[in-house]
């Protein structure tokens, strides 16, 4: 299993757990298909990059508040087979920001 931590700003954190390969699936969706799972409109992702193999940095279009970004990730993760977990040490991270 893979634990993935979503990081928004300095304080918002949530952890999801999915089968091995879930993080690779998210990377495929965001980098290759340029779409966030569960969101089908074009142009939502303005920037997506992977750092050190375990950190995905996402910038989403428009001006969105942090709690809105978290709501979006709460939809994206289950659509790729990752479900909320109680926490613990994550091996993968997704940093989400809104376009400024």
């Amino acid at each position: 299993m893979e634990a993935i931590e979503v990081q928004i700003g300095k304080n918002l954190r949530s952890t999801y757990i999915g089968l091995g390969g879930t993080f690779a699936s998210i990377i495929h969706c965001c980098l290759r298909k340029k779409a966030l799972p569960g969101f089908h409109e074009k142009g939502l992702i303005t920037k997506a990059e992977v750092k050190d193999g375990n950190l995905l940095r996402l910038v989403l279009s428009g001006k969105r508040k942090q709690d809105k970004l978290m709501e979006m990730m709460e939809i994206a993760l289950p659509n790729i087979g990752a479900y909320p977990d109680t926490g613990g040490s994550a091996a993968f991270f997704i940093e989400v920001k809104s376009e400024k």
Partner: protein, 497 residues
């Protein structure tokens, strides 16, 4: 949390955002579109059944992987009792929702995978069974709704998959990567993936050497990017949309007809941890035939019997409301309906009772193939007879009735109430006529014919599974005919000199 409630399932659906197209519209919320909502509500009702104490034995099993109580839709049959309860579940769910248990195909697919991945690991030294069990443990722990996708679009039937002009008519590999595979193609006539969390994908049929790119099986989360669902659309879909605010007007108000979609895989990534068959063509046919073995018992011998039960009930009400329930030929026709459906159910029970471990050592039990095929073939023909009798006894009203709402119209309502009053008020007669219309003029006749494979496949299986020589031998023995007196198989004719 190995069992979730229907409410928890519905909460999870609010976050499921598969890319779904229904009749010219993209569906943003599965619970707001009346067509997709009917499918989701049927799934919710199946979750409900597992919560009801009187249905626990049928709906709840014990996981062989964790020892926890799980929904039987996610259970691998480990003995005869499991098989028997599996077919009883198909019966109960059909009686309850009058449409698909949309987790049914997934259940039979996972049983086939449990058996075949074990066999591959034994024969080939692969790790598919370990992967599959990890996936299954996760699905069981979350009580996920899992659907199944098997049927490829197939294209020109004269050609093999790799000879097709468009390879996408069979789901196929486009890229092998270190972290997984990328697939594309279509799966058709798929039941209920839109409201499921995951779908198990199997090959559409047996494959030969050289067709490795089509020998794929995997589990895919249904909201993943690149996957699109184009839903069926027909008169019943339009009617459901039309009466979105007044579903009582419909034949099956809450759960609908039966919702399927064409799944379009546009370069979808599947990580290795979710891949259970990759190029082993020899095992593709086994995966499909073991799925069919399970599904013919459940779909043919139990699910459609549940449908028959509610059709028979509706037909009897129609007879009572018209005042013909005591007429001998009506009673005879109802008995015929019972005979046809219960014969199939008997075959399903026999298939379960004669089930066996396959392969030996795997711990996975599959139903008897001959009885499962008999169940399906019998109901494929019997279902037409059943809905014919429903239409016969229900009368022309089944297809000539006005809207139920018209009874409330200030101008025509009073007339209609007089016209259609018989041994019961017009409201009751029209309500039951609409219910029978849903079955007799709906999608289930052809659905029953093709579901779990068209009857020609069962006929073929009969030729494979029946020992015809043994039957001839028994006949000869009874007649006192010596073996040597038996007419020899004719020699092929020699060319005339």
């Amino acid at each position: 949390m190995a069992l979730i409630t229907s409410q928890q399932y519905l909460e999870s659906v609010k976050k499921l955002k598969p890319r779904v197209y229904v009749g010219g519209k993209w569906v943003k919320n599965l619970l707001e579109n009346p067509v997709t909502k009917s499918m989701v509500m049927a799934n919710a009702a199946v979750y409900d059944l597992a919560e009801q104490p009187e249905n626990k034995e049928v709906m709840v099993a014990t996981s062989h992987l964790t020892g926890e109580h799980i929904n039987r839709n996610l259970n691998v049959a480990r003995n005869i009792h499991d098989l028997d309860m599996r077919q009883e579940m198909a019966l109960l769910t059909s009686q309850t929702v009058g449409t698909c248990n949309y987790r049914c195909v997934g259940c039979d697919a996972l049983n086939s995978l449990a058996s075949t991945t074990w066999e591959m690991d034994r024969d080939l030294g692969t790790k598919y069974n370990e992967r599959f069990n990890n996936w299954l443990k996760m699905a069981q722990s979350k009580d996920l709704a899992v659907s199944g996708a098997i049927t490829d679009a197939k294209g020109d039937r004269k050609k093999r998959p790799s000879q097709q002009e468009d390879l996408d008519v069979h789901l196929h590999l486009v890229e092998k990567r270190d972290d997984g595979i990328v697939v594309r193609g279509y799966k058709v006539s798929q039941s209920g993936a839109i409201g499921a969390h995951e779908t198990l994908v199997l090959p559409g049929g047996a494959l030969r050497e050289g067709e490795e790119q089509f020998a794929l099986s995997f589990a895919v989360p249904n909201g993943t990017t690149g996957l699109t669902y184009i839903c069926q659309y027909n008169a019943y879909s339009a009617e459901r949309e039309m009466f979105a605010d007044d579903p009582d007007e419909l034949g099956n108000p809450v759960y609908g007809q039966r919702e399927t979609s064409t799944m379009v895989f546009d370069n979808v990534f599947i990580p290795w941890e979710r891949v259970f068959l990759f190029g082993e063509t020899r095992y593709a046919g086994r995966l499909v035939s073991r799925f069919a073995k399970a599904h013919r018992m459940n779909c043919g011998g139990a699910c459609k019997v549940g449908f028959a039960d509610v059709i028979i009930g509706g037909t009897m009400l129609a007879a009572e409301y018209t005042g013909v329930d005591k007429v001998p030929h009506i009673q005879e026709k109802i008995i015929d309906m019972v005979r046809l459906s219960e014969t199939s159910h008997a075959c399903a029970i026999a298939a379960a009772m004669r089930g066996r471990e396959e392969p030996k050592g795997s711990g996975v039990f599959l139903p008897d193939d001959l009885f499962g095929n008999a169940a399906k073939l019998n109901i494929a023909h019997g279902f037409w007879e059943i809905i014919k009798n429903a239409g016969d006894i229900g009368g022309g009203l089944v297809v000539t009735m006005p809207r139920l709402k018209d009874l409330e119209d200030p101008e025509v309502g009073p007339v209609l109430k007089k016209v259609f009053r018989a041994a019961a008020p017009a409201e009751k007669r029209l309500k039951v006529a609409k219910f029978l219309q849903h079955w007799a003029s709906g999608l289930h006749g052809v659905g029953t014919w093709h579901g779990a494979g068209a009857p020609q496949t069962q006929r073929f299986m009969f030729t494979v599974l029946t020992d015809f020589e043994k039957k001839k031998k028994m006949a000869r023995k009874l007649m006192g005919m010596k073996e040597e007196e038996a007419p020899a198989t004719p020699e092929p004719k020699k060319a005339a000199k």
